[in-house]
Amino acid sequence: MSTNEPEPTAPPPAPPRHPALHRAVRVITAVEIGVAGLATAVIFVLVLVQAGQRYLPIDGWTWTGELARYCLVWLTFTATGVLVTRDGHIALQIVDQIKSERVVRAIHVLALAIVAVIGVGFAAACWSLIEESGQLTTPAMGLPVKWIYVLPLLGFISTAIRASVAAVDVALHGVREASHSDELAIQVNGPGQEVTR
């Protein structure tokens, strides 16, 4: 047996159904994950700095803890929409065991539609809070409080849009096709790897 035989390869992925939408989603996802990843990196650096400050002969910065805490808020809500598209939110998956594909599809569409409505509700809640915040500023950094809620607002708008698009996608193409489609899937763990939650 020849050792130079080519390795069996997986069939090439099907071309995206809507290339423009595909590209747009990839860019938006990259931005969302990028912002959330940056927030994580800032938390990491600030907490390291805070740990180091105690053992170094320098004055401590009071704003590091405050900024790190807001970064956790931004990280959480910026990635919320991406998790919807990736089916990455923790959910009770017992309906997936139902044999009828139509029933499973209908339940998925309904669940995504509910998520979209809740996303709209919380986007409105964010907007309400931005309006209520007025001229308030944060104690250490003096950052306008309304700025803190801008990224969560965008995160919930993204959640609503992504859930709506995913609901339509599942309704038209079914659960299996939609979740295997690269149009809306996010390759966070690299192509071909299991998504672990």
Partner: protein, 424 residues
């Protein structure tokens, strides 16, 4: 009545596969609207619960685990454990427990452990004549050590909610986590006697020394993390950052990590953290609603009318957590029930640290049981076997874990001894 409708709506949404966080957020927001409160209050509640300094440890411990995963630390631990236990009958079973125990010092998530280790350990067991059911069972049950052994993400969340020392909770979890490993090894010992086809690998001192050298670096991580916390050098949040930094440096030193891996590591950290933190924040909104409806007080009166014995209370808590852990995510359960159970426990003189360790361990058993059992789904996906088969394999390993829960209830000293010795 209002709360009944609210809980019914949540149950319905959960069954309809609406994500746990949104199943809490939707009815919570609806409650605020129907009671004439500001929509902004909902947003303020969920952001305030997220912007907490102790909870900053969550992304940092997730980052630590993800970095250790990418740096190939599990492979090094596996090689060392194999060199150590390879000659023993059923050695790969002990290797699985040992690797999970070693990796648990760097990872606080059972799901991450199961995902990382199942791909290495289960194929190795199948190649060496172990039954598939046994392999899945031992890997799944061993993964549960991670969220109990410090650094534990559920412990960070519990400590934040219950306002107890994270360091004390970490110290209190060490003995139960070690007992989990011992209990699982006993089940391995019993089970491998029924498998005559398993193959043993050899033993050599040179191999042990060679693989031992490769785990010296990773072995220092728990010293830095736990030693830093318990020695008072760092807060748990700072220790998480220092631990992640150490593993990053170690990965670059071993050349198993490269700068190009960093975006992937941070992206994984973002996804896992956001899923956890959204549940924490959404459950805080629901907690506000329950508190406004005086549910904790009513439940407290109900429980205290039933018993005034701390041990009976702990038994009830363990049963409740086992049941809730099978259907709801552990993080959500913690955020919802800790504010309710803590005051009752305090009135019954139950140590909050004992309550915390018991709740975490009982909830983690739910990760191995249907219908939610996240570890079951991860293993089912990794090994391509039905969830039911994974559960059957895991069932014998649940027995020692349940026994440890009983041990904590009747001998709480096994939890409080170490923190007391350390003056925490």
């Amino acid at each position: 009545m209002t709360v009944g409708l609210l809980l019914l709506a949540i149950a319905l949404l959960l069954v309809l596969r609406v994500p746990v966080a949104f199943a809490f957020l939707g009815p919570g927001l609806a409650y605020l609207m129907f009671t004439g409160q500001s929509l902004g209050l909902a947003m303020r509640l969920i952001t305030n619960s997220t912007a907490s300094f102790p909870l900053l440890a969550v992304p940092l411990f997730v980052l630590l685990g993800a970095t250790a995963n990418h740096a190939g630390i599990a492979d090094r631990l596996f090689d060392f454990a194999l060199a150590l236990f390879g000659k023993v009958r059923g050695g790969l079973g002990y290797v699985s427990v040992g690797v999970s125990l070693g990796f648990s010092w760097m990872s606080g998530s059972a799901v991450a452990d199961a995902a990382a280790l199942s791909k290495v350990e289960i194929p190795a067991m199948l190649r060496n004549g172990y039954s598939r059911r046994f392999g899945i069972g031992v890997v799944g049950a061993s993964a549960l050590i991670a969220p109990v052994m410090p650094p534990s993400i559920p412990a960070v969340i519990y400590a934040g909610l219950a306002a107890v020392s994270t360091g004390a909770l970490f110290a209190a979890s060490v003995i139960p986590a070690l007992l989990m490993a011992v209990g699982l090894c006993i089940v391995v010992f019993i089970q491998v006697r029924r498998q005559p086809d398993i193959v043993h690998t050899g033993f050599s001192w040179s191999r042990l020394a060679e693989t031992g050298k490769r785990v010296v670096g990773p072995a220092l991580a728990p010293v830095i993390i736990l030693g830093g916390i318990l020695g008072g050098y760092f807060t748990p949040t700072e220790a998480a950052a220092v631990g992640a930094f150490y593993i990053l440096v170690l990965g670059f030193f071993y050349r198993t990590l490269h700068v190009r891996d960093l975006p992937k590591i941070f992206a994984e950290t973002v996804m896992t953290t956001a899923a956890i933190m959204l549940i924490v924040s959404s459950a805080s909104l629901l907690g506000y609603v329950l508190a406004r409806e005086r549910i904790p007080q009513q439940l407290s009166e109900l429980v205290l009318g039933f018993t005034d014995n701390g041990t009976v209370f702990l038994l009830l808590v363990a049963v409740l957590m086992l049941i809730l852990g099978t259907v709801v995510d552990p993080t959500a359960v913690l955020v919802l029930v800790v504010p309710i159970l803590m005051p009752i426990g305090l009135r019954l003189d139950v140590d909050p640290i004992v309550l915390g360790v018991l709740m975490i361990l009982s909830l983690m058993i739910g990760l191995l049981t249907p219908p939610v059992g996240t570890v079951l789904y991860v293993l089912s996906s990794a090994v391509k076997v039905p969830v039911g088969e994974v559960f059957k394999g895991s069932l014998p390993f649940i027995v020692p874990l349940a026994a440890i829960c009983l041990g904590i209830i009747f001998f709480p000293g096994m939890v409080t001894w170490l923190p007391n010795q350390l003056g925490l």
